[in-house]
Amino acid sequence: MSLNEVLQPMSLPAWLVALPLLAAGLSVVMPRCSVWTAFFSAITTPFLVVCLGREIFFHGSIEIHVGGWQTPLGISLYADGLSTAMLGVTALVFGIVTFYARPYFSGHAVARHFWPLWLFLWSALNALFLSADIFNLYVTLELLGLSAVALVALSQTGDALTAAMRYLLVSLTGSLMYLMGVAFLYAANGTLSLKMLAIVGPASPSVVTAFALMAAGLIMKSALFPMHFWLPPAHANAPAPVSAVLSALVVKASFYILVRLWVMLFEPSIPAIVAQLLGILGMAAIIWGSVQALLAERLKLLVAYSTVAQIGYLFLVFPLSLLPQVGKTAWQGGLYFLFSHACAKSAVFLAAGTVIHTFGHDRINELHGIVRRLPVSMFAFGLAGVSLIGLPPSGGFIAKWLYLNASLSGGQWWWGVLIILGGLMSTAYIFRFFSRAFSHSEEIVGERPAPRGMEWTAFTLALCSLILGLIPGSVIKMLEIGNPF
């Protein structure tokens, strides 16, 4: 059987879920080979995503019915431009961070547990982005949440364990709320398929309740202010590769579901005030996250609070997308934020991890002159910082530009003011670190060499966030496949 026969277009989504899952299972059964299964996955999965992307780019979106059962009886997997783009950014970040994790954990006892959990997390994300069934989404959410929690706890320090516990409790509560919403939707409509739910008639009170429950659960999981309290400790205390994917992808996964539900099911039946409310919470998140990042004493905590702020930007998409004529621009902006933040934030976390690896701590005030020791990592930090601030030429800038356009053309200029203000605040917290890193210091204590692999992987991701700023046309074209908005 040739490769072409095995990788038929219709089987690509299934492979994307099965392959990491198989790798995860194998790495449990054969712990000695776990690194190699992970590497195998890190090479093949991006390849599969590229195949899928090519396929849908030329032939449009793909829907497959698992088990051959049509909806509503069976579960369907759906790959349009949006989900493929999400899969792509997942493959990119995971693929690169895997090669960072290898030196990071090398010789470490926990590596044995890290790899299976890592692969489970990856398969959960892939399954989540492909799923077109609200109950199946619940299962993927749980797979995602549990593996993320276990990865946070991996370093076994008191802080990490407490953070993991908090995260677990929030995550489980969120899942329960979501499941209750699923129950209501199923009771009201008799189907779990997203597509079929999208075409059922006018909203009843139970559907509104279902949405409220699901949205509440997903918002808890995406750490929107004021449900963000669990995120900074969890992301700051996890091992660096874990923090990277947590900030880059895991919080975005629940946001992705929310976007899907919003667009497909709820937009017509939701009063505009809800969107405004989400936007206001996003605004609060931007301000609060930035202020906390300015006050943070540890580098990773700073980065984690920056994630809180950036999640706020994501939620601005809801009020902006309701504005007349610029809805599409707003969605593009929001998703562009998501992609560029994924690349940039993972790069920043990896660089911060390298700092800790090299100096044994990440207390910002004691990190003078580290740019001489870790030039590549700091360059990566800087490039990614450019994207986080939203300066050109970077993915973050494109996102900001699209948002600004939407808000100014749509007549709600105050969001634009907020976006610019947020950019200034992120400049402040990023340069707060940089002004230490660049300063001259004769002696830098407690150092050990940073593996080159760790430095260059961070750099590659940062470069990706920059490249995103140069190719927005094709990314946006990709997003429009299957017309998700």
Binding site: F397, L408, S435
Partner: protein
């Protein structure tokens, strides 16, 4: 895509690519680094030669890269951008030469320095070639980011403070500029630079909004152009190494701001429309105030580089002043000053760097008799200072003359008063230096011994200021010759005022 489509991009890449390669070069690869730098710079100069020839013959060179569905990255060579590009490339070439010698003994990473240096120049070239506001904005922000590491290059607490101030001002300005650009885009849908302006059809409907947008954009650009009260970062940024100061003041940052103001006034709003909206009078007043204020502050500085910095604050506003007076003659004066000020100011900074590097002199009070110790440097310094004051036949005189006659033509005699006052002040703060340098007896403490060898200092430190001083002289003497800055400025003005 033909060569004509590629040329602007190629010119950009001749500094961008070497810059990127230099980052990854190991520290000790000096030969490679120098080769890359100088090779890139030479290639760039050659390409620009082609560009100058073509643009003069109304040939159009344009690179268009679509980035978003309704907006493109445009690199476009018109007369104005060619002038700025040529200026920055020539000066980049010389500054690189200078910096190689200057940093020979620096403890900090030179790969980092030259990498960011190249990025900095690439950004300047990019914004010079930008064909619309978005492209301009992109390179404008890139410039901010690539200069920060240069400003804080020494890593001392003082330079870190300067870096913080610099970032606070420029990022703030960038945000204001971004807001203006985005607003304009939302309002009229186009942000392209068009000779003679492109907003005339909208003025009836959106007059108020357009005024606010102008304010935002000028505020954003004014930060880099160091318009009072947005000039605070510039004197502090003096802590940077001399080649960086030279670049900051003569080519890159300050010029980017001034160039942006010229672009916005002429190619976005159009000079007539700006006048109609009543935007030019306030700009002229701010510029005039900056000119006087900068000169007065310069008068009281004892540190040489600080005095030069305040002098920059003052001199750059001539450009803004030229842009805010309606009429082709004033336009010529403002635009030609872009080049003239660059040549003269970079000479001054090279010389200041030489003094500091060779004899350790940082303050004016220590400069007694330095002309005997370093005659060549002092000759260059004297020529540039006289040019700044506006002594004929040096370059500075040409700019001031055109500004003055332009102001008369536009019926704004008060501008002449400003120019005279400024020239007097210039003389007041430059002449004492020259006098000390040539005619005062050197103090005992300063050694009069010559630098080892034939020359007073390293030849790579000496050649660049002499060349730039010579260029400043030639720009004045041969002002009427073809391809002189003045002649080119006339070309620009002619095209701007073309009906």
């Amino acid at each position: 895509m033909t060569f004509d489509n590629w040329l602007p991009l190629l010119i950009l890449l001749t500094s961008l690519l070497p810059g990127i390669v230099i980052f990854v070069l190991p520290e000790e690869r000096i030969g490679w680094r120098t080769g890359l730098n100088m090779g890139g710079a030479t290639l760039k100069l050659m390409l620009i030669g082609i560009l100058i020839w073509g643009v003069r013959h109304e040939h159009s060179y344009e690179t268009r890269i679509p980035i978003l569905p309704n907006i493109e990255l445009v690199l476009n060579a018109d007369a104005m951008s060619v002038m700025m590009t040529a200026l920055s490339s020539v000066l980049w070439f010389l500054t690189t030469l200078y910096a190689i010698a200057y940093l020979e003994t620096s403890p900090q990473s030179r790969s980092r320095f030259f990498g960011f240096f190249s990025l900095c120049v690439s950004s300047t070239i990019g914004l010079a070639l930008a064909g619309n506001l978005l492209t301009f904005l992109m390179f404008y922000e890139m410039l901010t980011l690539s200069t920060y590491p240069l400003v804080v290059f020494r890593g001392t607490p003082e330079s870190m403070r300067a870096g913080r101030t610099y970032i606070a001002y420029t990022i703030g300005g960038g945000a204001a500029f971004l807001a203006g650009v985005a607003w304009l885009k939302a309002l009229v849908g186009s942000v392209a630079f068009t000779e003679g302006g492109m907003l005339a059809p909208y003025v009836g409907v959106y007059a108020t909004q357009l005024r606010f947008i102008f304010l935002l954009m000028i505020a954003g650009l004014g930060v880099k152009a160091a318009l009072v009260p947005l000039h605070g970062w510039l004197p502090k940024a003096m802590v940077a190494p001399a080649p960086v100061s030279a670049l900051l003041h003569a080519v890159a940052v300050v010029k980017a701001g001034a160039f942006g103001i010229v672009r916005v006034v002429y190619d976005v709003y159009g000079i007539e429309l700006s006048g109609e909206l009543g935007l030019l009078q306030p700009l002229a007043i701010v510029a005039a105030f900056t000119i006087v204020y900068g000169s007065v502050r310069a008068l009281f500085q004892d540190e040489l580089k600080k005095r030069l910095a305040y002098s920059t604050v003052s001199q750059v506003s001539y450009i803004a002043l030229g842009a805010s007076v309606i009429g082709p003659v004033a336009t010529i004066g403002g635009i030609v000053h872009l080049v003239h000020q660059g040549l003269m100011k970079i000479t001054l900074f090279f010389c200041a760097g030489n003094f500091a590097e060779t004899t350790g002199v940082h303050h004016i009070r220590e400069m007694n008799g330095i002309g005997r110790r370093m005659p060549w440097t002092m000759v260059a310094f004297t020529m540039a200072s006289l040019g700044m004051i506006g002594v004929p036949p040096l370059a500075g005189f040409i700019s001031k003359w055109y500004l003055a006659t332009g102001a008369l033509a536009a019926n704004k005699p008060w501008v002449i008063a400003i120019l005279v006052a400024s020239s007097l002040l210039n003389a007041a703060y430059f002449l004492p230096i020259i006098y000390r340098g040539w005619f005062r007896e050197p103090a005992e403490s300063v050694s009069t011994e010559s630098h080892a060898g034939l020359l007073e200092t390293h030849w790579m430190l000496l050649i660049p200021p002499l060349i730039t001083a010579l260029l400043a002289l030639l720009a004045g003497v041969l002002a009427d010759a073809p391809f002189s800055p003045l002649e080119w400025a006339r070309l620009i003005a002619e095209r701007e005022y073309r009906p």
